[in-house]
């Protein structure tokens, strides 16, 4: 689960990480009400999960409460324009109104999980305010990293060492170790997969603030913090995840793409290999779907309906390896699912192999369905039927 900036900053406050004075508001009038006149200039920022707010004109300045209201109105009037990662754009439901800082320097600071060392890695760069991907391309040497031994945990020397190594402006030095300690604490306390402060601003009067906040929480750890349930409800839903959940699948088990060959397989690895097989056969897959264990009739029907109702599938390639799950059970499930579904019918290509394979094939044959022998053959057949 990705958090909005204002939610991330709420967590930052709890860990003592300095953030600019500011308010979150879901309506322009409320934003104006909260903007006190003692602040000379405000910055109004759209609260969305998409990146590229500045370029999209969704971050604007305002000099008075009235100004705040009209700027907020403008920002919330239109959605974020689509980009490659989010082809649908995103509605702006709220804004964060913050005291405008006089920024002298911008740095980058983040914590993530390093798979190779199996440790949290803290990354720091003196190039703040741009994408870290861009920094790692243009100035790879500027990124200082520290892989933390979790048995020991964080100690301030780590922050000091990183600040020197990354050649941060000396103005950061005093505040920096505690800020890094703060993100380390949050990382474990809330089960974050990524916490990124970009930029970490140094103001012209020598103060340090987290000017933006990007926090990604581990979905598997959400049960530990029931308070996030409330936040989750305010966040835009990933449609694929919502559809998967409705069909009784795990949120990672279904993804849509723009091809016309629907796929259903058991196991994530086999499901990915099934997509690859469709591409190898010269076709385009409409989706990724892992039915998980126990492919009974209800589950198969739900999956079938999920794919035909929500993708452009013109044919369905069902690829099941019966391990613990028996092929005859799966075959029964497929036949029953197809007989009871009220959704549109598309041609089926079924590949069933493994435990009780022969009984499974017989059940399909009796129902006038022809199974194919191999994954490659099935993919070729499905692509042919979709053309």
């Amino acid at each position: 689960m990705n958090l909005m900036e204002y939610q991330g900053k709420e967590l930052f406050r709890r860990a003592g990480i300095p953030v600019p004075r500011g308010y979150h508001a879901a309506a322009p009038a409320r934003a104006a009400e909260l903007a006190t006149p003692d602040v000379p200039e405000w910055v109004v920022k759209a609260q969305v999960l998409m990146g590229g707010r500045g370029k999209a004109g969704k971050v604007k300045f305002a000099k008075s409460p009235d100004d705040v209201a009209s700027v907020a109105e403008e920002i919330m009037a239109t959605p974020m324009p689509p980009n490659r990662q989010n082809p649908k754009g995103e509605r702006v439901n709220s804004v964060l109104v913050e005291e405008k800082l006089s920024i002298a320097k911008e740095a980058y600071c983040a914590i993530a999980i390093d798979r190779t060392t199996k440790r949290p890695v803290i990354m720091v760069s003196r190039f703040g305010g741009m994408d870290i991907e861009e920094v790692s391309e243009k100035h790879p040497e500027s990124i200082a990293k520290f892989f933390v031994d979790t048995a020991i945990g964080y100690s301030p020397f780590i922050g000091r060492e990183l600040a020197f190594q990354a050649e941060l402006d000396p103005g950061y030095r005093k505040a920096f170790p505690a800020i890094v300690g703060g993100i380390y604490e949050l990382f474990f306390r809330y089960g974050a997969k990524l916490i990124e402060i970009n930029p970490l601003a140094l103001t012209s009067d020598g103060r340090v603030f987290a000017s933006d906040a990007k926090v990604e929480l581990d979905d598997d750890a959400l049960y530990k913090n029931p308070e996030f349930k409330e936040w989750q409800e305010t966040l835009p839903l990933d449609e694929d995840e919502a559809l998967a959940a409705q069909a009784g699948l795990g949120t990672r088990n279904f993804r849509r793409f723009d091809g016309n060959v629907g796929t259903i397989a058991n196991g994530a690895g086999l499901a990915m290999a099934t997509m690859d097989a469709v591409r190898n056969a010269g076709g385009n897959f409409a989706n990724f779907l892992d039915v998980g264990g126990g492919a009974n009739a209800e589950r198969v029907r739900n999956c079938y309906e999920l794919v035909v109702n929500h993708t452009g599938a013109k044919v369905m390639f069902i690829n099941i390896f019966g391990g613990i799950t028996r092929c005859d059970e799966v075959a029964k499930g497929i036949v029953e699912a197809l007989n009871t579904t009220k959704s549109r019918k598309v041609p089926l290509v079924i590949r069933l192999t493994g435990t009780n394979e022969e009984q499974g094939r017989k059940i399909l044959a009796d129902a006038k369905m022809t199974p194919v022998e191999t994954m490659d053959e099935g993919a070729a057949r499905a692509v042919e039927l979709a053309a």
Binding site: Q85, T116, D218, G269, M272, D276
Partner: protein, 292 residues
Amino acid sequence: MSIFLDKNTKVIVQGITGSEGSYHTSRMLEYGTSIVGGVTPGKGGQKTEHGLPVFDTVRDAVDATGATHTCIFVPPPFAADALFEAHDAGITFAVCITEGIPVHDVLRVVATTPGMRIIGPNCPGLISPGKSLIGIMPGHVFKEGSVGLVSRSGTLTYEVVDLLTRAGYGQSTCVGIGGDPIIGTTFVDCLREFANDPQTEALVLCGEIGGSDEEDAASFIREHMPEMPIVAFIGGRNAPPGKSLGHAGAIISGAFGTAQSKIAAFEAAGVPVADRPSAIPGLLAQRVPASV
């Protein structure tokens, strides 16, 4: 020989009285695994439906049975605790089947359980065909032989093993290392063991997108086992960046973890990469004859 387990390996099951634990204990016993007991706190002194003794703690189980290996079926919130308990009781090899353990729990466990090898989490376990099976793999698909296999996936492994068996290649040990971002045992860890196993004459590695485990394996092969005939497969070649497909670990971020980078690394190490599972036996046959 084989790696990690053989006929005499004594195994306990943590969560043996739960539905999953109980069912797969039956399957493992059928296969011939030497399961000597199980642990369910509060049910110590009882017998399972299989007639095995149940203990309250792993320590009691180890003291009474001399088990060295454990298979863990406990739910995600309690899995890290189960691993810590196993380590504390002197277990040296833990297979963690549980899916959905918070990744920070796994980080803490792997950093603080020296001396205990962990397979998984979120894995199907491992098998030395004809000898022993720990986990949830369908034993009858496998056949004893000389090809070692390491895979990040479950059903894809069975698919590949089935193809190997049909082509006349039996297996020495097959390890499903799991699809999570942080796992106890990596490809390289398995390669180290296989390099010293006299039964293993060739290897098949089934990787997938995400992380750099396959790239690390490729450098290890280049340096330490250039003579071993090895074939690789990478699942998810056509997956888009930024979305994880099923496995939490199967996610491409930036230029990192793409199928292209993994394929290039393997090819640079002299390891041919099959473009589809069905091509694996053929590529293997170019280096080692099948022993039907």
